[in-house]
């Protein structure tokens, strides 16, 4: 009887200690899990030397120092690219003063037609934080591939062609690492939150 009482006491005691320990460490364990999920960043992309929409040389260094958003597209694209750039412009404008801490790049997948001057003109109707990137087509191809962008030329009637391409907007941390992607069709407020987290 006595032995049983002692045993019960030990069990209860151990249970209390175990539960307390779990209670104490649970937030840390969960937080760690969250952090791990959150820090699913990846080093993507290769070094490059291309031309920006102001006619200046641009390299991978542009993606470091401030967080960035990247979008790959082409100016002959009739709806998705302007739609994505429009969405991006609205998102940038919603950041208010903080927008100066975010860089945005529109990388053409059609450098043959999209010279820096074409990009400069085209981008003038969107938020001026969005800088175009073009240059040698082989370098562009390699850069797009290194970011996991699918891109394929598809002939249309005559000499026209369109380009099938990944239409996600990439969010990069200030170390240039890929953090996550958003879609131009995503909920606006959620996308805005994701961008704010970068800043």
């Amino acid at each position: 009887m006595k032995i049983n009482s002692v045993r019960a006491l030990i069990i209860v005691g151990f249970s209390i200690i175990t539960l307390t320990l779990i209670g104490l460490f649970l937030p840390t364990i969960l937080k760690k899990d969250n952090e791990i999920q959150y820090a699913s960043e990846a080093k993507l992309g290769i070094p490059f030397e291309l031309i920006d929409s102001n006619g200046n040389k641009i390299t991978e260094a542009a993606f470091v120092g401030s967080p960035s958003v990247l979008f790959f597209g082409f100016t002959h694209c009739p709806s998705i690219c302007p739609l994505a750039l429009h969405r991006l412009s609205l998102l940038i404008e919603s950041l208010g003063k903080d927008q100066n801490r975010l860089n945005a790049y529109f990388i053409t997948l059609d450098p043959e037609r999209d010279t820096w001057k074409v990009l400069n003109n085209y981008l003038s109707s969107f938020n001026n934080r969005i800088i175009g990137i073009t240059g040698d087509s082989k370098k562009i191809k390699a850069l797009a591939k290194s970011w996991g962008i699918y891109s394929k030329k598809v002939p249309l009637d005559g000499e026209n062609y369109t380009i099938d391409h990944t239409s996600l907007i990439f969010l990069l941390k200030n170390n240039g690492n890929f953090l996550k992607s958003i879609d131009f069709e995503d909920d606006f407020e959620l996308s805005l939150e994701e961008i704010k987290k970068l800043l």
Binding site: H76, C77, S79, Y122, D164
Partner: protein, 158 residues
């Protein structure tokens, strides 16, 4: 076949010039109602643009939007955007766009659209952009495309 269609359409362009038409944003041809044809304003230097509208069929048979002819672009085709694993693909809708009996089709951003290629003049609000839509079985109709800002949605407007 396509050339024949194009020639036919060009004939109808000339033909319809002589027919009085309305400039309202709703058109009727037989059992078909065409609601608010519009083009989304293009960024400077763009040489392609998308044309949109809603087509409602109140008839007992299906109709086919087979061709579009405009004076402000070298070519106009019906295209469709297909999203596949985050990849955007644009394809011509071969054989025209079907509007089923008692059905409707909305051409809108990111889905079906009239793809205007090699624009002969930029798309600017305030300018007039006319086109001829040719429907098999219903004939053709001249429409005016209004110019709308990016983000415009037809349902907000109705």
């Amino acid at each position: 076949m396509k050339n024949v269609k194009k020639q036919l359409s060009i004939f109808f362009v000339i033909f319809t010039i002589f027919i009085a038409n309305s400039t309202a944003h709703e058109y009727k041809i037989g059992n078909l109602k065409i609601l608010h044809p519009y083009i989304i304003e293009t960024p400077p230097g763009a040489i392609t643009a998308g044309g949109y509208m809603k087509i409602v069929n109140t008839g007992n048979q299906s109709y086919n939007l087979a061709a579009i002819v405009v004076g402000f672009a070298k070519a106009a085709e019906i295209h469709e955007i297909i999203m596949e694993n985050d990849v955007m693909k644009m394809r011509e809708v071969k054989g025209g766009l079907e509007i089923s009996a008692h059905g409707s089709v909305e051409l809108k951003l990111g889905e079906y659209h009239i793809m205007f290629m090699n624009l002969l003049k930029p798309i600017i609000k305030g300018e007039i952009y006319e086109g001829i839509l040719y429907f098999e079985k219903a004939g053709n109709i001249k429409v005016v495309f209004t110019v709308e800002k990016m983000g415009f949605k037809l349902e907000d407007n109705n």
